[in-house]
Each structure stands twice: as structure tokens, then as C-alpha cells.
Point group: C2
Chain length 318, copies 2
């Protein structure tokens, strides 16, 4: 059971003006958490603005209240707000490195090295920052409207793969159930998150799947500049392209090679279970997490693939 630190609750109760900041390249958990917290603080009679340095990706623009997220800081700062970082724990991650705030609160579920924040609540066991914001709102006794419930449900859905990842617990499902009771529409949210592929995205996905090559337990596909030209798709359309090849039973690592200029490839790596692709990416100067990492390889495609398979072999002592 999550317990919100009393000092965090008092600060949210006593202060009058807040700037709630999401991390750069915000995902659904960052956006949903920031918007939900702002809507709740506003309903409690406070001034609260949400800030995101980077634009809200199009598949999150259905979230009610996201349209009020600021991308510039001037307006956000004029009421001398308390900074609240959600889903991140350092100003750098939020893209607001050089500013001073009279007070700051951190709410995050990421492992962290930073010690930023006057008041810090880091709970690595939380499946999503949205779970933490939900506890805050319940503890503060703020009414959770349908709009707030929708943002929190989406936040939790995104960070748990809609209840498929290993952070899915009974508590996560119970919170989901409560948010549905409060007005969140699970099928609508899932549809907006997962079923709004543009035709150009679908076409370039098909083209990339048709390039599938499997060596050992590594599935490799690529996306060439020609494919981008033919379909009109952009790099952002290729997010998660490794997921389907990774679904093949014999596959442990799925790699998508995206052409970024003559003889250069951005490689997106996804792995199953214990296979650590961050180690593999580091061999090429990249990095990431155990099951999701990335790097850049400068070589023709054939050599790049060979280098990758070799690195995976060495990295796993085969």
C-alpha cells in the first residue's frame, strides 16, 4: 500500500500556486499525471499550470485538459509557483535546468541518482506515476472527476502496457477498476492509445516487416530512407516497430535498423525477459534499459547487422 509523505500533502494543501512539469519527450504517464494533478489542484481553488518542453504526441491529445499544457515558461512562472516534477526527478529531465523555484516537490517512480527537491517522494515500486498522483488526490480528499480519472487511467495503462508488463499487480487492477467507477472508459482509452495508426505508419510498418531476417535468436528488420520517402512517414511513426518481431517464440532480441543518412543506422533494440540489450547498445556508444535500448551504427546494412549479432553473441557469452 502506497503512503504519501505527510510533508508532500501539506505542501500541496498549503501552497497556492503550482507549476507541474512533465519530462522531456513526455509519455502518457508523464502527461496524464501532470494534467490530472493540475486539474485536481485547480478544483481545490489553487493556481496550477502543467508544463512540457516537448509537444504532446498525437495519440495523447484525446486526454481532457492536455490542451492547457504550456510549452513556454513565461506565463507559467508569473505566479511564483512551487515546482512539482512528475514522472521525473531532476530539472534537467524536465528541460528547465537553469531556473530557480522557491520550493520544489518531486513525485517519481524511476530509479534515481538525483537528490533534487525540497520534498521528495520516490516510489520505485509504483507501476506508474499516475498511481502516485491517484493516492495524493485520495489523501487530499479532492473529488476525482471523469477528466482526472481518464488522465490517470491512461497514465497507468501506458506504463503497464495496459496491464501486460511485469509491474502489473492486483493493486494496479484495483486502481484501474476504481478509475472506471469514476468515469474512465477503458475501451475508448485503449482505442485512442493503440488503434489510431495512420495509413502511412501502417504502410511503412508492413515494408519493414517484409525485410525480416532472423539470425540465431535475433530478429532484424530495417526502415530505409526510400521507405520514408515512399510512404511519407517520419521517424516518430516507427515507435515500437520491434514489438511484433519480438513476439516470435524463438526470438529473444528484436532490432529495427532505421536509416539516418548514407551508411548510418539508428538501431532500436527490444528484448525478452533476462536478455539485457542495454549492454549491447553500450558497445556501440548507446544505452537504455534491460529490455529496451538503442544505439547508432555507421556501416552498410549488411555489416551493421553482422556487427550487432556479433555484439549480442559476445554480450551473452555465446
Amino acid at each position: 500500500m502506497m503512503k504519501v509523505p505527510k510533508k508532500v500533502l501539506s505542501a500541496l494543501r498549503d501552497e497556492e500556486s503550482f507549476l507541474v512539469a512533465a519530462h522531456i519527450n513526455p509519455d502518457g504517464d508523464a502527461i496524464g499525471s501532470a494534467v490530472a494533478l493540475c486539474l485536481a489542484l485547480e478544483s481545490a481553488g489553487k493556481k496550477a499550470v502543467a508544463y512540457s518542453r516537448d509537444p504532446v504526441p498525437s495519440h495523447y491529445t484525446f486526454l481532457p485538459g492536455q490542451e492547457k499544457i504550456l510549452s513556454g515558461l513565461e506565463d507559467a512562472l508569473k505566479d511564483d509557483p512551487v515546482l512539482v516534477l512528475v514522472d521525473c526527478n531532476s530539472p534537467g529531465r524536465a528541460g528547465i535546468r537553469d531556473l530557480h523555484f522557491r520550493r520544489s516537490i518531486v513525485m517519481d517512480h524511476h530509479a534515481t541518482e538525483s537528490d533534487f527537491g525540497d520534498l521528495r517522494w520516490i516510489d520505485r515500486s509504483a507501476a506508474a506515476c499516475g498511481m502516485m498522483v491517484y493516492e495524493v488526490l485520495k489523501s487530499l480528499g479532492i473529488e476525482i472527476t471523469k477528466a482526472i480519472a481518464t488522465n490517470l487511467y491512461a497514465a497507468i495503462a501506458v506504463d503497464t502496457g495496459t496491464f501486460r508488463y511485469s509491474n502489473t499487480t492486483a493493486g494496479v487492477l484495483r486502481t484501474g477498476a476504481e478509475l472506471i467507477d469514476l468515469g474512465a472508459q477503458p475501451a475508448l482509452i485503449a482505442e485512442r492509445l493503440y488503434e489510431t495508426w495512420s495509413m502511412k505508419r501502417f504502410r511503412i510498418f508492413m515494408m519493414s516487416l517484409n525485410t525480416l531476417e532472423i539470425k540465431d535468436d535475433v530478429a532484424m528488420t530495417h526502415v530505409s530512407e526510400t521507405m520514408f520517402r515512399k510512404t511519407g512517414a517520419g521517424a516518430e511513426d516507427t515507435e515500437n516497430f520491434a514489438n511484433l518481431p519480438r513476439s516470435i517464440e524463438s526470438v529473444k532480441v528484436a532490432a529495427v535498423f532505421r536509416e539516418v543518412g548514407r551508411g548510418a543506422w539508428k538501431v532500436s533494440l527490444r528484448s525478452k525477459g533476462e536478455v539485457d540489450v542495454s549492454k549491447v547498445a553500450e558497445r556501440f556508444g548507446g544505452g537504455g534499459h534491460r529490455n529496451a535500448a538503442g544505439c547508432r551504427i555507421e556501416a552498410d546494412l549488411k555489416s551493421a547487422k553482422k556487427a550487432l549479432v556479433g555484439a549480442i553473441r559476445r554480450s551473452h557469452g555465446r
Copy 2:
């Protein structure tokens, strides 16, 4: 709140021998429901065997207890069992048309025309037959073991798209939470359900995607007998092939045409939101749920597609 009819409970309590039959081409809900019910009845000291005319698809073979499902009826019939149909409501759907049972129970959540069954419990509002079996076991006071919880969680996961379809309710998530408390492992189940594609399944999926044709807001793909021959895949490998085409933003209905003999097609229909494909399937003598239905069309592929698009148009008054 689901209420199990008292007569169904008494029959399960009073009788001593059961044959629990899943429908032909069984999906995860049919298999999980049948196995869970058998395991529970056995633990209550009864004789209970599960029957499936068709083999258990490979992505369900992780379910504990599924290995005891019988595919022949001789052994199943020797203790003069009561028939229990799960996830279907007529002997024909279970592939046991010409047999006589002294007593029969039906537990299903499909809309139905059949009036088969001495005791019938049809609850169209249930997201999965697994939800109904769970209520039965709770009402009977049978201990729900980890194996039973795993089967029921998988049954519910399959029929709700792991909590993404419109049948996902707060009650569904609460049941999921309870089953996790009882030992079901959500991430493991999701990985086994979605990330264990055989190479032949992947190959025939690619072949079918390459046949994509979009008319109005209907995405159509097909799987031919030639494709089955070339890949070695079977009908059971084509489950959920409509999901990816349905993910295209402009698409409201995705249809997969599977060849079942010269000039005959089994059509699997998946729709978004309010579009009711069960009505469309009924026009061809099929049926199902609002967002997932199926039917058979006897015609060459071009005519079959045309007939389907016409039926969808008429069904939605366009």
C-alpha cells in the same frame, strides 16, 4: 453483479460425473473456462473431464491442466456424465451433435438462438465465460487454486483483449485483481498469450497482411489454403489476425477471410466502438458479440468481400 442460477449450482453440487465441452476451434476463454471448471469439480471429489474436438492452440498449452483435455469422446462418456457446455450453447458448436446425455447444463455469454440444455445460464453481459465460471466456483465455495486462477485469468484476458475491449468493466478488473491475489501471474500470462508466435504463424500473418484491401472504413485481408500449405500453419494460427488492420485510424471494421474449401470463407470480424458486427454476421447466418463476430460466406473471394461490405453498409444505414 452476476448471479448464478440456483438450479445450475445444485446440479453441479449434486451430480457426480461431468463432461465439460469447449466449442470447436477453442479460444482461450473456452479452454480456460473448461479446464478451470474441471479442476474445481475434481477438487470437490467429482469425476470431470474436459473435451475439445479441436486441438488446443499452441499459445494456450502453458495453461495448467489443459494437457488433460480429451479430443476423443469414448473415455469421456464412460461414466455417464452430465454435459456442461462452456462458452457455447449448442452441441453442434461443441462438435458433439449426435450424442445423448441424460442431463445438460449450458454456461455461455454469447447471444443465442439455441434452446438446448436442461439448465441454461446465458449472460450476455459477461465479458468472458471465465467470469461466469469464477462466480460458480465462488458460489460453490470451491477453493480457487493457482492453476484455476491462471486458467480463469487467461480466459478473461483473451476475451477482453487483456482489458482493452469494450466489455472491460470495473468488475472485470476487480476479478482480475482477485485472480492475481489467488496466484495468476499477469505478465507471464500476457507473454505466453502474445509473445509466443510460431514462425509459421508469423509467416502466414505477413502473407495475410500483404493482402490488405480497404473499402470505405472496412479493412479486409484473407488467408488462402495455398498460404496454409506454404507455411504449414493451421486455422488456429490465424486467431486475432484482424487486430492489426483494425488499429488503422480510418478503419472501423476489420475482416479476415479464411478459405475453408473451394469457394467458401470463414469470416472473422472485429470492429471499433459502436459498430456492431454481430448484426452483420447474422445476415450471413453467423453471430457473436458487438465488436467480435464471425460468419461463413460461400462465394469467390471478390464476391464475398463485396457482399460483406454491402452488408456492413446496410447494417449501419449508409
